[in-house]
Symmetry: C2
Subunit: 356 residues, 2 copies
């Protein structure tokens, strides 16, 4: 352990501007006590109308903005929440955080957002950084099933809810998507279209939601017949492209491709065209995660739409419940996905007709 409980980097921080008036300035300008100012602004105790009016105009004139840090210190009530995602620059996590922010805002919370970079060590370190601000609670999208962040949150006694990926071990509040059900539906759709050999392409197998997706696919294959092959294509676009390239060059071709994340979909499109394979003629393609561009390409791509906004809302709702003192056992919320059927997964016969 690098061992420092404080910041990762030395804080070359500088003196904050002290132009901002304090509650005392407001109080003296309004000719009341600081307690009264506080009571007016927080509507805590009733205050005579004229005093309240004087306070309000003092606030206005001075441009007073309360210091919530100081407020939290004294009141022990925090109106900040922490968010820990693998990478805020990833559109999926961005959308999640956007929904979270909207929900949090409605409840009067601000969000401190940090990225773990997909590294469990960073995950724990960044959570510690979050806790230095004493958030009322934390929402985290774990970078793997181990959820390194859990221990430190538990030790600190800060409510935490996980989202998207499913941590192993001790149960914890979780909001995720019904990976199994939708993957099964995808496979059923492909098999119903006459496909027999499904190739599932995923970044990493170490992530639980991916395994649920594979399990769902396998369940359908077992029920309806056909074969399932799984290939790990890594986490970067060029890598996934190369892996699929190699696979297409190597063995007998599948007649359906199910890409389990966006990067894989991109790599697949590239590798398919490099090998002169047509979609859906030679191979049907279905991607996990629907994105706006998928219906402007040709053929338009069949995709699984994840209810990412709803995930954000639900995660926030769970967190609020915990912050509010809910001590019931951890719950798992599973949200249904939608299969958006487009031309890339047309049944074999229809695809053949179209290309003829």
């Amino acid at each position: 352990m690098g061992g420092c409980i404080f910041r990762d980097a030395p804080a070359h921080v500088s003196v904050t501007n002290n132009k901002m008036p304090s509650i005392r300035a407001v109080a003296s300008r309004a000719g009341v006590s600081t307690a009264t100012v506080s009571n007016v602004l927080n509507a805590r105790r009733s205050v005579a109308p004229d005093l309240a009016a004087r306070v309000h105009s003092a606030v206005q004139e001075l441009g007073y903005i309360a210091d919530l840090g100081a407020s939290r210190l004294r009141s022990r009530k925090s109106s900040i929440a922490g968010v820990l995602v693998p990478d805020i620059a990833n559109p999926f996590f961005g959308a999640f955080v956007g929904a979270l922010e909207a929900a949090a805002r409605r409840d009067g919370y601000d969000l401190l957002i940090v990225s773990s970079g997909g590294d469990p060590v960073q995950e724990a370190a960044r959570l510690r950084a979050l806790l230095t601000w004493r958030p009322a609670g934390v929402v985290v999208i774990p970078c793997d099933d181990s959820l390194a962040a859990r221990d430190v949150a538990i030790a600190a006694g800060v409510p935490m809810v996980a989202a998207d990926r499913i941590p192993s071990g001790e149960p914890i509040d979780l909001v995720a998507v019904d990976n199994f059900a939708i993957a099964k539906q995808v496979a059923e759709h492909l098999l119903a279209g006459g496909r027999r050999h499904i190739l599932a392409a995923t970044g990493h197998l170490a992530i639980s939601n991916v395994n649920e997706r594979i399990d769902g696919t396998r369940a359908a294959v077992r029920e309806l017949g056909g074969t399932l092959e799984v290939i790990e294509v890594g986490l970067s676009y060029p890598e996934s492209r190369a892996r699929l390239d190699a696979r297409f060059a190597a063995g007998p071709l599948p007649d359906a491709l199910f890409t389990l994340n966006n990067l894989a979909t991109l790599g697949a499109l590239d590798a398919l065209s490099a090998h002169g394979l047509t979609v859906p003629g030679d191979i049907a393609l279905v991607g996990f995660d629907d994105e706006p561009w998928m219906h402007v390409v040709s053929p338009p791509l069949t995709a699984v739409r994840q209810p990412v906004e709803q995930m954000g809302f639900e995660a926030w709702a769970r967190l609020m419940a915990r912050i509010g003192g809910d001590v019931s056992p951890p719950v798992q919320v599973r949200l249904p996905c939608t299969l958006i059927t487009r031309a890339s997964s047309l049944p074999i016969d229809a695809a053949a007709m179209a290309s003829a």
Copy 2:
């Protein structure tokens, strides 16, 4: 004005968990004063090695995590920075914030991120919410040229740097892209390919960076001949698609389309195929903002790549300078974009050959 200087929503906040040990707990466990603990952890004054060791083990044993809110209150040094973007769920802003976060982290700062939703009123309100946490500085992507947030930041004396869009009025530190130069280059590229009638499609004309792009395009047209037509297609995907649909149905067709943002590019692709127009045969297409999918579609899309990570880094660098006390006049940093040339903007003759 709804008039409350505090939160937008009533804070139904709850008592923070008080399981966390304070610096006093550490001090007494280590048998030293709180000042010594502080000095050890912040490496401020030199402390005898044995005392330091005792402090460190006490920290370890108790799982002590310093309260940076309290620290800031006393030291008047803030290690938090505010970020205000139109919409964190937008991939472009997400990428920007990601870069900003990486840079901030290296300097020991955490980020409080809020979205204005593209609404100037919200912009000001959200900035006030940020200031409530006494950030050392603020980075903002304004929602329009008026930059409603400016006044409140200035009044509070908090350093602020703007990014991406160019606020009018009083100069302010700004990091943006060289819109004019790259747009000119795009137009030159199109004209050199034998195109004569460029249609530039934008969301809104009220945003300065868009106008710079149009000016750049116009400059090339003036120099090299040809015509420029500008069309406003709104901010949503369906709207942009409908507007372009109408335009294609109405008048003489352009032979080049320059979409000034991502939504417009998506809408264009849709409208083009709806009208049976081929790219680049009938119309060349160039989009502002390069995205991963653009080179897997057919034809691959020519696009302007914005150095969004670098924008984040530069913005942070400017902010750090200001936080560090730099009082020199505001500067404008302009970053160069790159034109990624792909098949969608092939010269007329090559395009004709390809389709023949």
